[in-house]
Symmetry: C2
Subunit: 233 residues, 2 copies
């Protein structure tokens, strides 16, 4: 399975391990080691410990530099959304890492291969092994392909509010003036409805409704993001 | 205060910032920024966010490599003991960083300068600034002096059991055979006492008592560690 994995990594990611034993360790669960007591195998947990910290730093540094105006609280929320079991297990699936995990028979039967916790671990241990074997630039190249594009695809919008997301999205390549205007206020005093639009450099890009001005602006920002992302796909 | 800090860092740590504004940011609390609204200052929180991840990786990588036999659970406990408010605030004090923090008057009066939470933040933000300004090797040099020696001084023994600590201590420079021998079992059936000694390469280095064989061995290991550390000081 490790030979196939090496071929796959070479073909798909142009990744070539100098030390295949490290790669094997990263994809081997304890249950497999226990079933092969004479092969002197190692399982992934120690490398995963390292990979976790590697990912934490690379993601932190990327969002720190990419969003120079984002305050710490939002950076922390964004990082937590990116560096977590839910995200990492999805990345592992997307990279087809589930196909290459070495599991014991009991774990296999119990469906461990599709368990998010295991997939997340394997994603981290793969990164740990890549870091040890090929150094940080190789990890950065991998992460630039697998993780960072998800920021523009809106995967982590929920971690940061829509107005902030829209600002970051529009200002990726330079300054853009973003304005929200109140168009209308209807409803009753106890049940008001606000209608706003949002402009980018003087052009209306979306509008939104809400029970407060703030909610209407958030809605407008989210609508704008949805439109812009649809256009860029 | 930042000029004095630069002089101090140069003299004490041979650290020379290319961008003093980054260093100033790392040592400035929000309360100071609020009191000087016209100076367009930044406070430390964003850099601290980055510094935290830098320290996590450098510590993780160091203990991963230094303790090749330590399983993940113990690595994680050890890292948690090293990378935490309690440790970082002590490192900050030891480095005299408390003297250089820029605080608002209210915070100063309230005693913030000695608050472990703030000292910990400043330690992280200093490391973040050093990383951004001078790169990872400069951080490694700093951490090799300030953090790693505490491992040999026993600061983090509580995170790993004494037998493991003794093993790591003795085997730093190569393989050493460690054996525990039961010398005596006294007391009653309900209140037994065990007496063991611990040998390194055939030489008794300490003994210990306990209500179980395991406890007696732990005690012997702790006594051995205490002796060895006293000798090496």
């Amino acid at each position: 399975m490790i030979n196939e994995l090496q071929d796959y990594l070479a073909k798909e990611f142009d990744i070539h391990f100098d030390d295949p034993a490290l790669l094997a360790e990263a994809f081997t669960q304890a249950s497999y080691v226990n079933e092969h007591p004479n092969q002197n195998l190692k399982f992934y947990e120690r490398i995963e410990f390292l990979g976790d910290a590697v990912l934490e730093l690379i993601v932190s540094e990327y969002i720190y530099k990419r969003y120079p105006e984002l305050p710490q609280g939002k950076l922390t929320r964004l990082r937590a959304a990116m560096v977590c079991e839910d995200s990492f297990s999805k990345f592992a699936k997307e990279c087809h890492f589930d196909q290459y995990i070495r599991l014991g028979k009991g774990e296999e039967k119990a469906g461990a291969r599709q368990r998010p916790g295991l997939l997340c671990d394997i994603f981290e241990s793969f990164v740990g092994a890549l870091y040890l074997d090929q150094g940080r630039p190789a990890v950065e190249k991998f992460v630039r392909r697998v993780i960072f594009p998800k920021l523009d695809m809106g995967w982590f919008d929920h971690a940061v509010d829509a107005k902030t997301s829209l600002q970051e999205y529009l200002q990726r390549d330079g300054d853009v003036k973003i304005e929200y205007h109140l168009l209308d206020e209807t409803g009753t005093e106890n049940d008001p409805e606000f209608h706003v639009d949002v402009m980018a450099d003087g052009q209306v890009i979306a509008d939104g409704h809400g029970s407060s001005k703030k909610h209407a602006e958030m809605q407008a920002a989210q609508n704008a993001l949805n439109k812009l992302r649809k256009q860029s796909n």
